[in-house]
C-alpha cells in the first residue's frame, strides 16, 4: 500500500472515529490496531525524528567549528532488523539525510545503535588487512537494560513479557534508583530513559565521560548497582551483610524502595496473602522460631483479621515488628527486613548489556513490532506518571495524523499529537541540555587550541 492509498483507506474509516480530545481512551481508533510494514512506512515517512536522533549522536560534531571531529558520526554503528529477520549490521551514516533515506528505503522493524568505532564500520574490512585490530570500539554511551521478565519471581500479576499497571512500578523503582545514583554518585548529567516498547526500559548515559569509559569501568558501575544475585540454582537472592548498608543502598532504601514496597508492591502483588506466597518470604528469614511464630499467626487469622486493613499490610507489620523488636537484634536478622524489600523491589539489570562497549541497543522512537508501541522517552522526574498501556501505538499515531489532514509542514505535524509530546520531551529534557553542554565544551576547546 502506498502512502496515498493509505490515506484513502483511512478516509473511508473516518466515520466512526472517536473524539480527538481523548486519544488515550481509544481502543484502536479507526486504523486497525495492528503493526505492519505499511504503517511503519508512513511512520518513517512522516514522523520519525531523524534530525533529533542524528543531532544527539553527533554530540556537537556536526557543526563547522575547528574542534569538530567530522568523522565522528560516520564511525557510529547502526544496525537494522528487517521484516523477515534479515539483520544488517555495521551500517553508518554521514548525515541525517543519509540516515533518513536508508531507513525509508529499508523500513527496518528495529533500529539498533552501537558504539563509535575507530574507523567507519562500513569500511572495517579495508582496515582488517593492516593487522593489529584497528577496528575497535572507542566510544559508547553507558547503557542499561531492565526487563520486567527478569522479575518473574517478584510479581504475581503477569509473567514473561507481559506487563500491567500492578507490576510496572517495578520499572518506576528501577528508573528512580538508577537515575539518582547516576547523577548523585557518578556525577552524570545527560541521561535518557526510554520505554523499550514492551517489557522494560532502556537507559542511555551520554556524558562525554560516560562514553569514554573502558569495559572494566562499565563493569564496575554495573556491579556497583548489582544486589540481586539469584540464579536458578541458588534461592538466596539478596544478601546484605555488614553492620550498615552502603550509602548508595541506604539512600535507595529510604528514598525509594521502602515506600514503593510498603505502599504499592505489597498490596498490588498481594505478597503475603496466601500461604504459598508468605512461605516464600518466610524462607528468607533464617530463624525457625520467628518463622513458626509468624506462620502460626497467619494460618490462624486467615479469616479473622479486620476487613478494613489490607491483609498484606497487617502481616508485613507483624513481620517487621517481630524481626526488629528488641529481643531479635541479632546481626543476621536485622538485615532481614531490608533483604526482603531489596529482593522484591530492587532493580535487576541485564549486566552484560552494560559491561561491554560493543553491545547494541534499540534506538529511541523505534516501534515495537509485537505491541505496535513507540519507544518513547520517559522523564525520570515524572516516571511515576508513566503508563506503558497508554504509550502511543503506531495505529493511534496514524489516526492522529489523519485527523490533522494532509498538512505537510513537518514541524507543525507533531504539535499537540501524542507523538509530538514525546519528541518535545526528548528535546527539552535531554537533547537541548546535551547540545548546550557540548557547545560549551567546544568553545573552551577552541580557546585552548
Amino acid at each position: 500500500m502506498t502512502k496515498q492509498e493509505f490515506h484513502n483507506g483511512c478516509d473511508d474509516m473516518l466515520i466512526d472515529r472517536c473524539e480527538p480530545e481523548a486519544p488515550k481512551q481509544k481502543q484502536g481508533g479507526s486504523v486497525p490496531n495492528e503493526f505492519n510494514s505499511h504503517y511503519l512506512k508512513v511512520y518513517y515517512g512522516r514522523l520519525f525524528p531523524y534530525a533529533d536522533i542524528f543531532r544527539w549522536i553527533s554530540y556537537g560534531n556536526d557543526g563547522k567549528h575547528p574542534a569538530c571531529d567530522s568523522s565522528y558520526v560516520s564511525r557510529r554503528e547502526f544496525s537494522f532488523t528487517l521484516d523477515n529477520d534479515i539483520y544488517l549490521r555495521f551500517l553508518s551514516f554521514n548525515s541525517a539525510a543519509e540516515l533518513e533515506n536508508k531507513i525509508k528505503e529499508k523500513c527496518p522493524f528495529k533500529i539498533d545503535i552501537g558504539p563509535v568505532y575507530s574507523v567507519d564500520p562500513t569500511k572495517r574490512h579495508a582496515y582488517a588487512q593492516s593487522g593489529d585490530n584497528v577496528f575497535t570500539p572507542v566510544e559508547r554511551e553507558l547503557i542499561f537494560d531492565i526487563d520486567i521478565s527478569d522479575y518473574d519471581d517478584a510479581r504475581y500479576c503477569c509473567s514473561g513479557a507481559d506487563v500491567c499497571l500492578n507490576c510496572w512500578p517495578l520499572m518506576t523503582i528501577a528508573i528512580k534508583v538508577i537515575d539518582f545514583a547516576l547523577r548523585d554518585d557518578f556525577g552524570f548529567k545527560h541521561i535518557l530513559w526510554v520505554y523499550s516498547g514492551r517489557r522494560g526500559v532502556h537507559c542511555w548515559v551520554c556524558d562525554g565521560k560516560a562514553r569514554r569509559l573502558t569495559n572494566e569501568q562499565r563493569a564496575a558501575i554495573a556491579d556497583y548497582f548489582r544486589v540481586y544475585k539469584g540464579n536458578e540454582n541458588n534461592s538466596k537472592k539478596v544478601s546484605l551483610t555488614g553492620h550498615a548498608l552502603h550509602p548508595f543502598l541506604a539512600t535507595a532504601y529510604t528514598k525509594v524502595l521502602k515506600d514503593f514496597f510498603e505502599k504499592k508492591l505489597l498490596i498490588s502483588q498481594s505478597l503475603l496473602s496466601t500461604e504459598e506466597r508468605y512461605e516464600k518470604i518466610l524462607e528468607m528469614i533464617p530463624d525457625a522460631a520467628i518463622t513458626s511464630e509468624l506462620r502460626g499467626r497467619w494460618q490462624e487469622n486467615r479469616r479473622s483479621s479486620s476487613v478494613k486493613e489490607d491483609i498484606n499490610v497487617v502481616r508485613w507489620e507483624q513481620l517487621k515488628q517481630l524481626l526488629q523488636s528488641g529481643k531479635h537484634k541479632a546481626q543476621g536478622l536485622r538485615r532481614c527486613v531490608e533483604e526482603i524489600v531489596f529482593c522484591f523491589a530492587y532493580p535487576r539489570l541485564d549486566m552484560e548489556v552494560s559491561k561491554h562497549m560493543n553491545h547494541l541497543l534499540k534506538a529511541p522512537f523505534c516501534v515495537h513490532p509485537k505491541t505496535g508501541r513507540v519507544c518513547v522517552p520517559i522523564d525520570p522526574n515524572q516516571c511515576e506518571q508513566f503508563d506503558p498501556t497508554t504509550v502511543p501505538t503506531l495505529s493511534q499515531l496514524l489516526d492522529e495524523l489523519n485527523e490533522r489532514g494532509l498538512r505537510d509542514d513537518v514541524d507543525g505535524e507533531w504539535k499537540g499529537t501524542s507523538f509530538g509530546n514525546a519528541v518535545s520531551l526528548f528535546r527539552s529534557s535531554f537533547l537541548q541540555p546535551l547540545l548546550k553542554a557540548s557547545k560549551v565544551k567546544e568553545s573552551t576547546h577552541v580557546h585552548l587550541t
Binding site: 529477520d85 593489529d132 585490530n133 527478569d150 522479575y151 518473574d152 519471581d153 548523585d184 554518585d185 557518578f186 556525577g187 552524570f188 565521560k209 569509559l213 573502558t214 572494566e216 569501568q217 563493569a219 564496575a220 558501575i221 556491579d223 556497583y224 548489582r226 540481586y228 544475585k229 539469584g230 540464579n231 536458578e232 540454582n233 541458588n234 534461592s235 538466596k236 551483610t241 555488614g242 553492620h243 550498615a244 548498608l245 552502603h246 550509602p247 548508595f248 543502598l249 541506604a250 535487576r348 541485564d350 549486566m351 552484560e352
Partner: protein, 501 residues
C-alpha cells in the same frame, strides 16, 4: 637497555635504587648478558604463570599475597644482592617486548604484572608504600579536613558496611575520579559522590595498582609500535627469535585449544589464547563425539557445570545465552562438529520454540561459534576461570556449580553424580574456602578413583582427563605426551635452540 654478549656487565650504583618495587617507568641504562636476557625473563614468567594459576583457582587476596611472596623469592633471587633489582627490571622489560606484540598477549601480561605489583606492594613496609604513593603524587589528592568533616558520616557508613571500624579524625582519604578505582567501585567499598571516590589509606593499593596498570598499558602500546617499526627487524638475528619463542614456550598444554587427539598437533604449534580470544584459523576436523554419544559421555566424562547445563537443556528444551555459549563451546571443544551441533540444538530448541524460530534466531549463533558467520572467528571453550567469574542471573543455569549453587543444590547435584560421605564433605570444604577448581578436582578424583595431580583448569581438560582414564588404549599415548610437565619439555627445547644462537 644495552644487550651485550660479553660476560662483563656494569653494576648500577646503589643511588639508582630508590625503591625495591620499581614502577618501570623507563628502560634502565643497563648492559645485559644475552644469557641473562632469556634466563631472567623465564624466571619472571614462572612468577607470572604462578599468579595466573593462583587467580584461576580463585585464591583470596591473603592467599595470593603469600603465593606471590613465595613465587618471587623462589624465582627472582640472585647470588648477588645488588643484582636482584636489576634482574627485576631487566626481566620486566624483556617480557614487555615479548608480550607487546598482540592484543591478547598484552592483556594477559598487563593483568599478571598488575597482580604481581599489587601483592608486592602489599608486602612492602609502610614507609616503602608511602614512597610509592608519593611517586604517584597521591598526597595532592588527600581529602581536606573540612571536606572530611562534611562526609564523615558517609565514610563511616561505608566502613561499617564492610565490617570495619569507623575512620578516625586523622584518617587519610584520597579523592579520585571513580574511574581510577574500578574494583573498589564494583565492590561498593568506597563512598562515591559526584564522580569522585573517597579511597581510604588502607585501600590505596587498589588505586596504586590501577595507576600502575594504566602506566604499563600505555607503555605496552608504545613498545609494540617500536617493536614493529624497528626492533623486530634490527634484532632479527639476535633478540627477535628469543622474544618470539618466549611467550609461546612456557604455557604448557593449552586446553582452550585442545581437541582430544588433535591437541597433540596444536601443542607443537603453541597457540597462545585467552578466554576472550579467538584466532583466525582454518577450522580443523572436529567430530570426536557425535550427537548420539552425548548423553553417555556426559554421564561418564562431563564436569558438573556441563552436566547441569545439559540436564536443564533436556528438561526445558531451552537455555539462555550464557548457557548456550558455555555448553555450546564446550561441546565444540570436545569434538562435536558443526552439523552435529546444529542437529543437537535444533532437536532441543525446536520442541520449545519451534523449528522456524530456531533456524531464525539460534542457528546463526551456533554457526557463529564455529567461525562460519560474522567475523569468522573460531571461538574456544570457556576456561574455569571465565566460568567461575561469570555472573548468572535470573533464568540462567551457566556458571560454576561449586561457586554459584546454594549448598543445598550443590549437594543434591553431587549426589546425582554418585558422590557421598567423606568425599562429598571434602568437596564442600573446598567450596566453603572458595577453592572451586579444587572442589571440581576432588569430584573428578572421587568419581574416577584416580588422582588428578594437575588439577582441573578447564572443562575440556576435565573431559580429556576422564577419557584418558576410561579409554586405556588412548591413555598411553596421551600420558606420554601430556603427562608431567610437557611445558618444561618444550621449554628446554627452546633453551637448546637458544644456546645454538
Amino acid at each position: 637497555m644495552e644487550i651485550v654478549r660479553s660476560q662483563s656487565h656494569r653494576k648500577i650504583s646503589p643511588n639508582n635504587v630508590t625503591n625495591t618495587l620499581p614502577l618501570y617507568r623507563s628502560a634502565p641504562p643497563l648492559e645485559v648478558r644475552l644469557e641473562d636476557f632469556e634466563l631472567y625473563a623465564l624466571d619472571r614468567l614462572r612468577v607470572l604463570k604462578g599468579i595466573s594459576d593462583g587467580l584461576s583457582r580463585g585464591k583470596r587476596p591473603e592467599e595470593m599475597e603469600k603465593l606471590v611472596g613465595k613465587l618471587w623469592k623462589e624465582n627472582m633471587r640472585h647470588q648477588q644482592a645488588s643484582e636482584i633489582v636489576n634482574k627485576d627490571i631487566i626481566s620486566h622489560f624483556v617480557l614487555r617486548l615479548v608480550y607487546c606484540r598482540t592484543e591478547e598477549l598484552r592483556k594477559w601480561f598487563l593483568s599478571m604484572e598488575t597482580s604481581l605489583f599489587r601483592y608486592r606492594f602489599r608486602l612492602e613496609n609502610a614507609e616503602a608504600q608511602r614512597a610509592l604513593m608519593a611517586e604517584f603524587d597521591l598526597s595532592s589528592r588527600a581529602v581536606s579536613n573540612v571536606e572530611f568533616e562534611s562526609i564523615k558520616e558517609k565514610l563511616g557508613q561505608v566502613a561499617r558496611s564492610m565490617g570495619q571500624s569507623l575512620p578516625t579524625a586523622d584518617a587519610i582519604f584520597y579523592k579520585v575520579p571513580f574511574e581510577e578505582v574500578p574494583e573498589l567501585v564494583a565492590g561498593r567499598k568506597v563512598f562515591i559522590n559526584q564522580g569522585f571516590a573517597y579511597v581510604a589509606m588502607t585501600q590505596a593499593v587498589s588505586l596504586v595498582a590501577t595507576l600502575f596498570r594504566s602506566l604499563l598499558s600505555k607503555a605496552l602500546v608504545l613498545t609494540n609500535r617500536k617493536w614493529t617499526s624497528t626492533i623486530r627487524e634490527q634484532e632479527k638475528d639476535r633478540l627477535t627469535p628469543i622474544v618470539e619463542a618466549l611467550c609461546s614456550s612456557y604455557l604448557g598444554p593449552d586446553f582452550s585449544q585442545m581437541q582430544i587427539v588433535e591437541g597433540l598437533a596444536s601443542l607443537s604449534q603453541n597457540y597462545f589464547m585467552d578466554d576472550q580470544g579467538g584466532k583466525h584459523f582454518e577450522p580443523r576436523g572436529h567430530g570426536e563425539i557425535s550427537v548420539k554419544d552425548i548423553d553417555q559421555v556426559a554421564k561418564s566424562s562431563f564436569p558438573l557445570c556441563m552436566r547441569n547445563l545439559l540436564e536443564k537443556l533436556r528438561e526445558d528444551h531451552h537455555l539462555k545465552h550464557g548457557g548456550r555459549m558455555q555448553l555450546g563451546l564446550f561441546l565444540k571443544g570436545v569434538g562435536l562438529n558443526l552439523d552435529d551441533a546444529l542437529a543437537f540444538w535444533r532437536y532441543e530448541f525446536s520442541q520449545k520454540v519451534g523449528l522456524e524460530r530456531f533456524e531464525k534466531e539460534y542457528a546463526y549463533s551456533i554457526r557463529h561459534n564455529y567461525g562460519q558467520e560474522g567475523k569468522r572467528t573460531d571461538y574456544t571453550a570457556y576456561s574455569c576461570q571465565k566460568i567461575i567469574s561469570s555472573t548468572p542471573g535470573v533464568g540462567d543455569h551457566h556458571g560454576c556449580p561449586y561457586r554459584h549453587f546454594s549448598e543445598e543444590n550443590l549437594r543434591a547435584a553431587l549426589t546425582r553424580m554418585g558422590m557421598n560421605g567423606r568425599a562429598m564433605e571434602d568437596v564442600m570444604n573446598k567450596v566453603r574456602n572458595r577453592h572451586y577448581q579444587l572442589a571440581c578436582t576432588l569430584t573428578f578424583e572421587a568419581i574416577h578413583g584416580v588422582p588428578n595431580d594437575a588439577g582441573i583448569n578447564h572443562p575440556t581438560q576435565y573431559f580429556s582427563d576422564s577419557q584418558k582414564i576410561l579409554q586405556p588404549e588412548l591413555r598411553d599415548i596421551i600420558v606420554a605426551l601430556f603427562g608431567g610437565g610437557l611445558g618444561w619439555c618444550i621449554l628446554s627445547q627452546t633453551s637448546n635452540v637458544w644456546e645454538g644462537v
